[in-house]
Amino acid sequence: MVHFKNRYMVMEAFIDTAGKGQSDPLILTQLNVTKAIRDSIQINFGECGLAACLGSLQDHQKVWAAITMVRSIGKIPVSFNLRDVSGSIRACKKAALECEEAKFEYYKLAAGDRITPKFVETMESCFNKIKGLES
C-alpha cells in the first residue's frame, strides 16, 4: 500500500476587470476562493464527488479539473492557472516566491518612478506571508 500523499498546488489567478467597467476590484480571500472551488466541484462532480474530495483530499486531479473550470468569483471573471504542483509545502513556497518576485520585478520595470512606497510595503508583506507558511 502506497503511503497517502498530500498534493499542494500553486495557482495563479487572472482577474479580468476590463470587460465590465471598473466597478469594484475583486479581493481574493480564502473564503471566496474556497467557495468558488467548492461550488465548481459540486456542479461538476456532484454531492458525492465533493464529499470524496473534502474527506480525504485524494484525487488531486479531480480538484485540479474543478479549479480549471472555475470561471468567475462573484460576478467577476477569474481564471486559474497552475504554476506548480508538488508534495511538500516547501517546494510550493519556493515556486510561489519565484513567481511573485518575477512579477514584482517586471512591475517595477514597467512602473518606473510611479511605484509608491506603500505598494512596495504591501509586496514585502506578501513575500513574508509566503515565507511564513509552515513547511
Binding site: I43, T68, R71
Partner: protein
C-alpha cells in the same frame, strides 16, 4: 516548469472588437506558457480574394519581455471552413481554391452534416490539415469508426476544443459525451486539443488543459500532453512543408533585392531551427559555405571548381548554436532571444543579398547531397554560392524531416540518407545556379 513547447492552434480573434481585445488574448496565451498560437478565421461559404488574412500576427504588449524566452513566440494564421455538404467540401477544397488557402498557414474544415463529414474523411484533399468538430452543440452527425480510421490513415488531424468544457453546464455535458467517443476511437493519435477561445478568460494554461482533458475525456496524461505539443508541432511542420516546399522537401526561398527578409518569410526557418524537444527531433545539417573566414567549418576545397566549397557534414558541435541559426531572423523583429554575434552568420548572409531577383531553384531530389550522422532527421542544407565578385546571392535549401513516424515524408529524402556526399549533385546545382545568374 519544463519548456516543452505548447501550442494553441485555435484562438478566435474578434474582427469587430478592437485590436486590444485580441491582443489581450494572445498576450494571455503567452503568459500562460504557450509558445505558438494560431489565429483562427472561421468562414462559411465560398472563399473570395477579400478573405485573405489581413493581419497575420498581432503585436504583443511589452509584458512579453517578462518571459525570458529562448524561443520566439510564433503566431500562425488559420482558416476554418464550415462545410454543409459533400459538394461544398469538394468545391471549397478544390485545387482551384488552393491559391487562397495557401495564404493561411493552417487549413481546417468543420463538417456540419453527415455527408460532409464522410466526404472529408474519405476523399483526399491536398490542403486540408485539420478536421475540427464542434462539440459545443449536439453533433449533427454520427462519428463512425471506419471513417475516423480513414482520416487517421491519411494523416488528418482531429481537433477537440476545450472551451465548451469550461463553458456552461449544457455544452459541457454535450462535449464530454461526444468528445470522449472521439478520444476512445482515436486513442489520442493525431488528436490536437485547442482552446477555441473568444476572450482571454477562456484560455487555460497548458498543464491545466492537459489535466482537464485527461480527467474528463479519459486520455492518458502523456497522450493529452502530446495533443497539445508534439501533435501540433508535427501538424504545423507538415502544413508548412506542403505550402512552402517543392515536393515537400526542398524549400524555395525568395530572395528580394535590397530588402531584409521579413519575419513572415522566416517563419519556416524558425520552425525548422526551433526545436523545443531536442531529444525527440534531432538535427542534421549540411552547410556548404563559401566563406573561408568562418573557422568553425572545416574547410574542404577541391579543384576544378571556381568556388571553394566548405562542407560541414556534422551538425555543429554545439547543438544550441545550430538551433539558433535560423531564429536570429526573428530576433531582429523581437529582441527576446539573446544571441552571440557568431550565431548570426546565417542571417547576415541572407541579409547581404544586395542583388537578385526571385530565384526558383529546381533541384532534383535524388542527388541526395546529404550526409547522415547520428541518425538524425531534420536536415538543413544551406547551399550558398558567391561568385567571387561583388555580386552575391545565395540559395537556401532546406530539407526537413521531423522525426515523427507518422509524418508524411517523401521517400526521396530517405534515399538521401547515403553516407557519401554527392559532389556531382552540388556541381550540377552550382552550374545551374550560375546559368540562372547569367
Amino acid at each position: 516548469m519544463a519548456l516543452a513547447g505548447f501550442f494553441d492552434l485555435s484562438i478566435l480573434p474578434n474582427d469587430s472588437k478592437s485590436t486590444t481585445a485580441n491582443t489581450s488574448i494572445v498576450a494571455r496565451a503567452l503568459d500562460l506558457g504557450y509558445s505558438a498560437v494560431a489565429l483562427d478565421h472561421p468562414h462559411r461559404g465560398l472563399l473570395a480574394d477579400s478573405h485573405a488574412p489581413i493581419a497575420s500576427s498581432l503585436l504583443l504588449p511589452p509584458s512579453a519581455s517578462l518571459h525570458h524566452r529562448r524561443h520566439p513566440f510564433l503566431q500562425y494564421t488559420r482558416i476554418t471552413l464550415s462545410l454543409d455538404s459533400a459538394a461544398a467540401c469538394a468545391s471549397a477544397l478544390a485545387p482551384s481554391a488552393a491559391r487562397l488557402l495557401r495564404t493561411y498557414d493552417i487549413v481546417a474544415a468543420r463538417p456540419l452534416t453527415q455527408a460532409a463529414f464522410d466526404h472529408l474523411c474519405q476523399a483526399t484533399f491536398d490542403h486540408l490539415d485539420i478536421v475540427s468538430i464542434d462539440f459545443s452543440h449536439k453533433l449533427p452527425f454520427r462519428l463512425k469508426l471506419p471513417m475516423l480510421k480513414l482520416a487517421l490513415q491519411r494523416g488528418l488531424h482531429l481537433e477537440i476544443a476545450y472551451s465548451p468544457l469550461i463553458a456552461d453546464a449544457a455544452s459541457r455535458r454535450q462535449a464530454v459525451a461526444e468528445a470522449k467517443l472521439l478520444v476512445e476511437w482515436t486513442k489520442g493519435k493525431n488528436l490536437i486539443i485547442s482552446s477555441a477561445a473568444h476572450t482571454a478568460s477562456e484560455i487555460r494554461g497548458p498543464y491545466d488543459a492537459i489535466n482537464l482533458s485527461s480527467y474528463l475525456l479519459g486520455l492518458s496524461t502523456q497522450r493529452a500532453k502530446a495533443a497539445l505539443s508534439v501533435n501540433c508541432r508535427s501538424l504545423i511542420s507538415k502544413a508548412l512543408r506542403k505550402k512552402h516546399f517543392y515536393k515537400k522537401t526542398i524549400r524555395i526561398d525568395r530572395l528580394l533585392p535590397n530588402k531584409q527578409l521579413n519575419s513572415a518569410n522566416f517563419k519556416l526557418a524558425d520552425w525548422i531551427g526551433w526545436d523545443p524537444m531536442p531529444h525527440e527531433v534531432d538535427l542534421l545539417s549540411l552547410d556548404v559555405n563559401p566563406e573561408p573566414s568562418s573557422d568553425k567549418y572545416e574547410l574542404l576545397s577541391y579543384k576544378g571548381e571556381p568556388q571553394s566549397l566548405d562542407i560541414n557534414p556534422e551538425p555543429s558541435a554545439n547543438k544550441d548554436e545550430l538551433l539558433y541559426l535560423p531564429i536570429n531572423a526573428l530576433t531582429e523583429a523581437s529582441s527576446h532571444v539573446p544571441y552571440d554575434g557568431d550565431e548570426s552568420l546565417f542571417v547576415e548572409q541572407q541579409e547581404q543579398l544586395s542583388h537578385g531577383n526571385e530565384i526558383l531553384f529546381p533541384v532534383e531530389t535524388q542527388e541526395g547531397p546529404v550526409q547522415v550522422s547520428r541518425g538524425e532527421s531534420l536536415m538543413t542544407c544551406v547551399l550558398s554560392t558567391l561568385p567571387a565578385s561583388c555580386e552575391q546571392h545565395s540559395v537556401a535549401t532546406n530539407l526537413d524531416n521531423p522525426g515523427n513516424n507518422e509524418t508524411v515524408m517523401a521517400h526521396d529524402v530517405q534515399t538521401a540518407a547515403v553516407s557519401s556526399f554527392d559532389l556531382k549533385g552540388i556541381e550540377k546545382m552550382l552550374n545551374l545556379c550560375m546559368m540562372l545568374w547569367n
